[in-house]
Symmetry: C2
Subunit: 223 residues, 2 copies
């Protein structure tokens, strides 16, 4: 338990952010739980904003490297042939689910990340966009190659839906309590469940209505 102040602060911040949200977590809560002085955050990180970025960067960089690594492995194996969609899904979402199952750090962070995609704060949006730029580009290319019959815009939406399902899968029991008691203790089962759901959605028949000249009836109810 002899970790240095910097990491103790990162750990406490991560854990408190996921419990109370970014805004509602104060520096005093963080430093108290980390058994550090209040000024330590500004000394080690500069500001609360910089601390938030550090909390995310610490694990997000590694996560996306893993994703690209998994994709590289599949592509090397395929020797120029398009990958199977299942492989690409596995590389992107599977890696995330497995990280979320890792009690030594990943679990807490992934819950935080899941609910941060929809975070409206500006500096977080731009920060995430930067961190994701490379991995998104790689996976878009792989998907387009693997599914040449699916219109690109259509696929982007499905990718987006899949991110939503992933986010909720990871947030897990918190939001699930809305649906009733449920067991989210088995990460392998969760992995299998999410994968089959995602593949099912990804490979669903294309909707017919797409690209219809959306003529909206102007008629309003008489008032």
């Amino acid at each position: 338990m002899e970790t240095d102040t910097r990491t103790r602060i990162l750990d406490s911040a991560e854990s408190l952010f996921v419990r109370h949200g970014l805004d509602a977590t104060t520096l005093r809560m963080i430093t108290a739980e980390a058994q550090a002085n209040l000024a330590a955050v500004n000394y080690h990180f500069g500001s609360k904003e910089a601390l938030i970025e550090a909390v995310f960067r610490r694990r997000l960089t590694w996560l996306n490297e893993q994703r690209i690594g998994a994709l590289n492995a599949f592509e090397a194996e395929a020797k120029g042939q398009p990958l199977k969609p299942r492989q690409i899904v596995e590389a992107f979402f599977g890696v995330a689910i497995r990280m979320a199952a890792d009690k030594n750090g990943g679990q807490t962070f992934m819950r935080l990340l899941g609910r941060t995609y929809t975070e409206p704060t500006d500096f977080i949006r731009t920060f995430l966009a930067d961190e994701y730029a490379e991995v998104i580009a790689r996976f878009k290319a792989a998907f387009f190659k693997a599914l040449p019959d699916v219109p690109q815009e259509e696929f982007l939406w499905r990718f987006h839906f899949m991110m939503g399902a992933l986010s909720y899968a990871i947030s897990g029991a918190d939001a699930l309590r809305l649906l009733g008691p449920i067991d989210d203790s088995d990460p392998e089962a969760l992995y299998a469940r999410l994968m089959s759901f995602l593949i099912g959605g990804l490979r669903a028949p294309l909707p017919e209505v797409i690209a219809k000249p959306a003529r909206k009836p102007r008629a309003k109810r008489a008032a």
Copy 2:
């Protein structure tokens, strides 16, 4: 534009909440945009917490009544027979997507709602659980009846995933910017896209690994 102070505050709060989040939105921002006095919030609602609840209740009650209404209509038509899964999905998620397409109020709110499911704040969780209790019970029952071959726990997860996809579908362009430029101006197309994705995921083949006696290999990488 002669609306009363109370509704002007509700409208401004709704719009600001979705832009900056609940915590980061201050009463001074709200009253400034609503052209009301700072004290007006506490006068009309009692507290900021009560205002938040009012913002949600105003549209959420109606939304869930619509959902139950749609389900009732389908069930009356089916005369005791189980519904088709597509109908239940339509009643729950279709109603939400259509509300999200309504520029006169619904759109802003649904974006707010989508990112609030994962909100960690306690009083919001309990509030949402209350508001959703009835509609969740009705739809769970309908789904269980329509899909007797799907284990209930399995289905609850899929329902959960579907909520995630819906949430992201509604948050729309905000988070989608991560994936690149995309057009979310056509609600009918979005509706069709989400529905086919959801049905695809819901009806995907069951994963085999479920309920395996999760024996986790203790072996760690040599270090």
